[in-house]
């Protein structure tokens, strides 16, 4: 009886003390929380865009009974809405972008966009059982925002995917995808620099077209 009372007494004391320290902690972190709220407001929109797109794509991926072409089409549509292919093209070509006239620029953006959606939109079945957990975001230099996500389930369980977003013309769009610390923009930039070092922009565009053609005809054969 006494021991029970003592236990209860200790429990109550621990509880009260816990409540008190929680309050103190709360108070101590009030300025921090406000700061975080300010940041939250800034990253809220890009986070929402990624989260919605990711959940839509995961839903499309899960509909394994439907033909691949239909689902690839749907995923491309979602991706075209949220990727800024013009900025991505500028970034991957770096100084070489300057040397292109308007027509060549348009051609490059078009082919690069096809390349990206074809290479990253194929082989859906490996991703049919995944989920995406969008768990955070942070502000970067130049007012970019990085939205962080993690793959849940499937072969690539636990893989980290980060999306670098930039606000252009009042719209948040993706300008880079960082997979486990490997930036696509950096990777393409280094490859394109090598191609352009030994050839012209026309060579690069021809290479892009060839690859896009092979992937498309390969899909036609498979389908």
């Amino acid at each position: 009886m006494t021991s029970e009372q003592t236990t209860q007494g200790i429990a109550r004391r621990v509880f009260t003390r816990g409540l008190l320290s929680a309050l103190v902690v709360q108070l101590a972190f009030v300025p921090l929380t406000i700061a975080a709220d300010g940041e939250d407001a800034l990253v809220a929109e890009p986070t929402k865009i990624i989260d919605e797109a990711a959940q839509k794509i995961v839903a499309v991926l899960a509909r394994t009974e439907e033909p691949a072409e239909v689902r690839i089409g749907e995923i491309e549509e979602i991706a075209y809405e949220i990727f800024d292919f013009t900025t991505m093209s500028k970034l991957v070509l770096a100084r070489n972008w300057r040397k292109l006239d308007k027509e060549k620029r348009a051609e490059f953006v078009r082919e690069f966009r096809t390349h990206l959606s074809r290479t990253y939109g194929t082989r859906l079945d490996n991703f049919s059982d995944i989920g995406v957990d969008v768990y955070g975001a942070q502000i970067e230099v130049r007012n970019d925002v990085t939205v962080k996500s993690r793959v849940v389930g499937g072969q690539f369980d636990g893989s980290e995917l980060a999306y670098r977003m930039r606000n252009r013309k009042e719209e948040w769009k993706i300008i880079d995808v960082v997979i486990e610390g490997v930036s696509l923009v950096s990777n393409y930039r280094s490859q394109f620099a090598t191609v352009l070092n030994g050839g012209t922009i026309d060579d690069l565009i021809t290479k892009l077209k060839d690859k896009n053609f092979v992937v498309e005809s390969g899909e036609a054969e498979a389908g």
Binding site: K90, R98, H115, T119, V141, T146, V178, V185, S186, Q191
Partner: protein, 269 residues
């Protein structure tokens, strides 16, 4: 005698790292590109003619579940090295996580073949000597394409040799008692290399499709591999997966001239 030899080896490695750092490294991440490309071509041929067929055969014979189990087991065998480097880098939380991972998978994961730790939400850390050296500021050194083994930097290659040797010594009592073999150093190396080979073959067969696709999609596969490897290692040293850790300050900045034409947009073509 032994320790003297070890000291000599260490100082040799240090001198090598420092001297390379002093001269060739500044010319770019890949001062040995010519030689590296030749080794890369050799490795690609080897992969096409030996590794890929072997991995395909392996994939045909060994069920996916067994491949995953084996991958888990090799990961489990490597965990003491990871734990050591958690401690060397002063990361107590990671060390506790990895200690929990080792014990859970050893006891409840059938000796490491089943990864119960991940199921229980224990994070997996990836550390090695290359990362520990990087953590304390040792630069990566030149990029090296090693025959058969693939991409390394000088720092990470040296780290791998030492880590592999340490793992060999760690498990040698187990080998000695289980087989009542009296393995000498060379044979121990043989066991280590055999284990590494099986590990790579298994990994190669798990990621066969991804490898094939990246090879097909690349514009310059050598540069693709180099960039991906260097970025991946840099991000591991920095423990940062959400942004490129590689030194490329201008990556997200457009040329000044672009700024004037900010309004142009080719997305709608």
């Amino acid at each position: 005698m032994n320790s003297a030899r070890r000291t000599a080896a260490c100082s040799l490695i240090a001198t090598l790292l420092l001297s390379v750092n002093g001269c060739a490294w500044r010319e770019g991440p890949d001062p040995l590109e010519g030689a590296n490309r030749k080794v890369f071509a050799f490795n690609e041929g080897l992969d096409r003619h030996v590794l890929e067929p072997a991995a395909t055969a392996w994939d045909f014979v060994v069920p996916d579940l067994a491949q995953t189990a084996l991958d888990n087991f090799f990961g489990h065998l490597n965990m003491p090295v990871v734990l050591a480097h958690d401690i060397l880098q002063g990361k107590p939380i990671a060390a506790f996580e990895d200690l929990a991972r080792i014990t859970h998978n050893a006891v409840f994961g059938f000796g490491g073949f089943y990864d119960i730790a991940t199921r229980l939400g224990i994070p997996e850390n990836d550390e090695d000597l290359g990362q520990t050296l990087g953590y304390y500021g040792v630069p990566a050194g030149p990029y090296l394409m090693v025959p058969i083994l693939g991409p390394y930097t000088l720092r990470d290659g040296v780290g791998e040799i030492i880590d592999t040797t340490a793992t060999g010594y760690l498990y040698s009592p187990a080998w000695q008692s289980a087989r009542t073999l009296n393995l000498d150093t060379a044979e121990l190396w043989g066991v280590s290399i055999g284990q590494k080979g099986l590990e790579l073959l298994n990994l190669r067969s798990i990621y066969d499709e991804e490898l094939e696709q990246s090879r097909r999609d690349a514009f310059d596969y050598y540069v693709f591999v180099r960039n991906a490897y260097l970025q991946s290692r840099a991000s591991k040293v920095a423990d940062k997966t959400d942004a490129p850790a590689i030194d490329e300050d201008d990556l997200y900045f457009l040329d000044e001239e672009f700024e004037e034409e900010e309004e142009e947009d080719y997305d709608d073509f």
